[in-house]
């Protein structure tokens, strides 16, 4: 059976998770900050413990994906087109997507409360707390995106399809301005996320990404070595 025939129409799925689905441990946060259990300063450890106690009440984990009907998708030179909208993803991303037969979009968000919580501390001079909350929120939303990517891969496996890595507007040489096109092809406020005129996502702790889907594609490592953005979080995360 041609697996793509089963994708006669686009598939849209949205999930809500409780905190346990993406729980983050004390040791993980310590490592994220560059320490280990023996070297972490006491005020940092105290802040982490405080943060972990409050965290379940401060996040709203939502994610989802849309797999497009292959007939609506064209890969064309250095870009891809969906429903007549052109995505200029650049050569790094295109080289990973080029053998795809269709495209999926992925959205994840940890909600607005956690960023308000961080801002509250920053505004009141508790910069360490504000910074740690921000750092943890960034990690949580990436973990949520990882989890959602796995759910997508499971769904694709059932119809014998594979997925590439995920690539986000704003990274790997892809202009974040394409967020406008990306969100225009998703339901309104999909997973609670919207964008402003400057293509910033609200809530800010959100991930949007594109994933190539096909029978004969493989998941390649990020090609950080050919990208010039030295302090990109993807480089840090994949180190």
């Amino acid at each position: 059976m041609d697996s793509l025939i089963s994708l006669k129409q686009s598939i849209v799925k949205e999930f809500k998770f409780n905190y346990e689905a993406c729980a983050i441990s004390e040791n993980h946060i310590i490592e994220l900050l560059g320490y280990d259990a023996d070297t972490v300063p006491e005020p940092v450890l105290e802040t982490i413990i405080f943060l972990l106690e409050e965290l379940p009440n401060k996040i709203r984990l939502q994610s989802g994906y849309k797999i497009f009907n292959p007939r609506k998708v064209k890969l064309n030179g250095d870009n891809f087109i969906i429903d007549n909208r052109t995505f200029s993803c650049g050569k790094i991303i295109y080289s990973s997507l080029k053998n795809s037969e269709t495209i999926a979009f992925l959205i994840s968000s940890v909600g607005t409360e956690i960023e308000e919580w961080s801002k509250h501390f920053m505004d009141n001079g508790e910069v360490l707390k504000g910074y740690l909350i921000d750092k943890v929120a960034s990690e949580l939303v990436e973990q949520l995106a990882d989890k959602t990517e796995l759910l997508l891969e499971d769904e694709l496996k059932e119809i014998e399809l594979h997925a590439t890595n995920r690539y986000s507007p704003g990274y790997c040489g892809w202009s974040v301005a394409d967020q406008q096109n990306l969100f225009s092809l998703l339901p309104d406020k999909f997973c609670g996320v919207s964008i402003n005129a400057d293509s910033m996502m609200m809530p800010t702790k959100s991930v949007s990404a594109v994933i190539g889907v096909g029978k004969n594609i493989e998941k390649k490592d990020y090609q950080c070595s050919i990208c010039e953005i030295e302090f990109c979080y993807k480089r840090e995360r994949n180190a």
Partner: protein, 223 residues
């Protein structure tokens, strides 16, 4: 150097806020930055000396350790908190003009961008280094930057951007600033910003970390 100021410098380096603080464990029960600042002022040490010989050496050690990868950002923030709690006692002296800042820096996150954590950390490090920072906040348009430069007679401006699109807004803001104001040093930074990008938009300097900016500004004041 005055012994109190040496102790004050050590408290700031170690992040000891006050006597009630349990941190660091090896200084438990001892006075912190707050009490030592008050004591120095009560004993007639000038406020300028408290800043120059107490606060700044402590933060300088912290900044150097951070730049050299010997400590991580949370420790810089712990030290900055100790400093800012003691800085409250110096505020009246800044207001009266008894203490002089090294200079004034206008800072803001560029139009379209709502990220402020990185900018706030740079601000803390600069303030800890004796610079006055006029923080314009987030989502700042070129006109607001230009007005602030003119009304504050500032010679340095720092622009932050965290997204590739708002980097483009940075380009436009730098262009407008350079058109409207002579003799201002434009410094850019933020996660996606690179030295090559800074050069391409005609910014004067780019630094990947706060200490780099502080070192540059300090060097500028001595040359």
């Amino acid at each position: 150097m005055n012994k109190i100021l040496q102790q004050l410098s050590l408290c700031i380096e170690k992040g000891r806020v006050n006597k009630d603080s349990n941190y660091p464990p090896d200084m438990k029960g001892l006075s912190g930055a707050f009490e030592l600042t008050r004591q120095a002022l009560e004993e007639g040490v000038s406020a300028q000396a408290v800043l120059n010989d107490g606060f700044l050496p402590g933060m300088k050690i912290v900044g150097d350790k951070f730049r050299d990868g010997k400590i991580f950002l949370p420790e810089v923030l712990i030290s900055a908190k100790a400093m800012s709690s003691a800085m409250e006692l110096l505020k009246p002296y800044f207001q009266s003009g008894e203490i002089n800042y090294k200079g004034k820096v206008i800072m803001g996150t560029v139009a379209g961008d709502l990220h402020d954590i990185g900018k706030n950390i740079v601000k803390m490090v600069l303030e800890g280094g004796g610079w006055q920072v006029v923080d314009l906040g987030i989502n700042v348009r070129a006109e607001k930057f230009i007005d602030a430069i003119k009304s504050n007679s500032a010679k340095v401006i720092g622009l932050s951007a965290m997204l590739t699109t708002t980097m483009q807004n940075m380009n436009e803001i730098v262009r407008k600033i350079k058109l409207e104001v002579n003799d201002v040093i434009v410094i850019v930074g933020g996660a996606p910003v690179t030295k090559a990008f800074a050069n391409s938009i005609n910014a004067d300097e780019y630094f990947p970390d706060p200490q780099g900016m502080l070192d540059y500004l300090n060097k500028k004041t001595t040359t």
